[in-house]
């Protein structure tokens, strides 16, 4: 089963697919998929993300294999839904998408052994975990300014039940920028697989329903600019669409100090 959370006509609804371009709301209405506001498909708890978890991407970024997964956390404001817009700051020179399989926890997990781990998954969705490389610094890298930016982690469109995806997931994953394919991989190539990650994390951090693990991205990241449409696609999960927006749309023009002055006078 696939479920979404959308806002329509003044309320938030659960929705399911209803044909090519339509969705069915929980109150029975069938509406166009472009006529709703798509939210992340579940109420997210802790947002956990992996870096360098595909060997080819690590190589692309010139990193050696690790003995422990590179894990970082994000704040909740990073999340947006399908068809959302992500801001590219005017001073960025390299902002890239990262198409990732997102694993959503369904049952509390603490000290879970890898053989039991998959039973703690509620389902899967697609993540587009943007990074702005200009802001990378070598202290607690990747730092939050790169990876926990407002609206820079899209999730959706659907939460697909774990029961509908063969475990472990071996799903083709692709990104298209303005219709051109730029990224291609398969979730079977994770360096640290999902069962390992749940075992590893739950040994020191209790996982709760709604917590989500973004499992990393394969090679093929390129710079995207204002106005670009970025589509992340994972076999069986759907297509997650995002648009790159400029500073102006967010009321930000010029430098931080100019902005401060502008806001003060407003």
């Amino acid at each position: 089963m696939k479920r979404a959370r959308v806002a329509y006509s003044g309320a938030i609804h659960e929705a399911t697919p209803a044909g090519a371009d339509e969705i069915r709301l929980d109150d029975g209405r069938v509406v166009g998929e472009a006529d709703v506001v798509w939210l992340p498909p579940f109420e997210a708890g802790t947002v956990i993300a992996l870096g360098l978890n595909y060997a080819d991407h690590a190589k692309e970024l010139a990193f050696k294999a690790q003995d422990e997964p590179l894990v970082f956390l994000k704040g909740p404001g990073a999340l947006i839904g399908h068809r959302g817009a992500t801001r590219r700051p005017a001073d960025a020179t390299f902002m890239h998408y990262e198409c990732e399989l997102a694993v959503v926890i369904g049952k509390p997990a603490r000290h879970v052994a890898r053989d039991d781990a998959m039973a703690h998954i509620a389902g899967y969705t697609i993540a587009n975990d943007y990074a702005i490389r200009d802001y990378l610094e070598n202290w607690y890298r990747p730092n939050l300014r790169v990876k926990s930016r407002d609206g820079a982690t899209a999730l959706g469109p659907w939460l697909v039940d774990a029961a509908d995806v063969a475990a472990p997931p071996q799903l083709a994953l692709q990104t298209f920028v303005n219709g051109r394919q730029t990224q291609s991989g398969n979730t079977r190539d994770l360096v640290f697989d999902i069962a390992f990650l749940i075992e590893y994390l739950s040994a020191f951090m209790t996982l709760s329903p709604g917590d989500v693990i973004l499992t990393g991205t394969p090679e093929g990241v390129i710079d995207v600019g204002v106005g670009d449409e970025v589509v992340c696609e994972i076999e069986g999960l759907g297509r997650l669409v995002n648009r790159i927006a400029g500073d102006e749309e967010f009321g930000r023009a010029g430098t931080a100090s100019a902005r401060g002055a502008q806001r003060k006078s407003a």
Partner: protein, 235 residues
């Protein structure tokens, strides 16, 4: 977590807790020449933060937990800024207006030798970050950038510092964070702790006093290793 007492909006610490790292002027100094060498290749330019996930947070009066892996913890004594109103891209001159009050925090981590990676295994452990019993309204506490912080282990004074030693002031932190990440009512920003915090083990009592804000007391106890009981499982 059940919240410290807070008599001003937002009334509950319902949001996200962010810990500022390397914000004490001794933090980088203590690393010496390593700062300019690999992997760091220079001092950090922007604010460095860590997210404290919910299971790490402890309500007042609870024990900080250690387990077989975390025999010894490093105590990070920090002033917490409790956000009162939404702060997005605010200027430093306006930033303190978004702070409802202050709270004492005890952010315990595994001791680290490297600051290169986020190391959440060291920084985001269950039951590792305790809060004081009360959030003191900003108007009552005064200037957040000149408060003494004292750490006691088993009633002995072991560390003494001041928020005056911070690289970024409270206002500058709010400004720099809110430039890329909106702070919401109920969020907490820990303003950073001194390097080489006190080390504690099972059975220790830790007290942190921050001038004008209050005193936090917590005990270090051994966690039980039991997995969470799962009634839906058959075996």
């Amino acid at each position: 977590m059940s919240s410290p007492r807070i008599e001003v909006a937002p009334f509950r610490l319902s949001g996200t807790v962010y810990a500022t790292l390397l914000n004490h002027r001794h933090s980088l100094a203590s690393l010496g020449d390593a700062v300019s060498a690999k992997p760091y290749q220079g001092a950090p330019k922007n604010v460095v933060l860590a997210v404290k996930p919910r299971p790490a947070l402890l309500p007042p009066g609870s024990n900080v937990l250690v387990d077989d892996e975390s025999q010894e913890l490093e105590v990070g004594a920090a002033l917490g800024l409790v956000i009162g109103t939404t702060a997005c891209a605010v200027a430093a001159t306006d930033a303190l207006g978004h702070v409802a009050g202050f709270v004492v925090a005890c952010d315990c981590t595994l001791p680290r030798t490297s600051h290169y990676r986020p190391q959440i295994r060291a920084m985001a452990r269950d039951a590792s970050c305790a809060f004081g019993a009360e959030v003191v309204a900003r108007e009552r506490a005064g200037d957040p950038d000149s408060l003494s912080i004292r750490v006691f282990v088993d009633d002995e004074l072991v560390r003494s510092t001041s928020t005056a030693d911070h690289v970024r002031s409270a206002a500058q932190l709010i400004a720099d964070i809110s430039d890329f990440m909106t702070l919401r009512p109920g969020d907490v920003v820990l303003t950073g702790s001194a390097p080489d915090g006190a080390r504690v083990r099972n059975g220790a009592t830790v007290a942190i006093e921050i001038e004008s804000v209050g005193r936090l007391e917590t005990r270090v106890a051994m966690a039980t290793r039991a997995a969470i009981a799962d009634p839906t499982r058959s075996r």
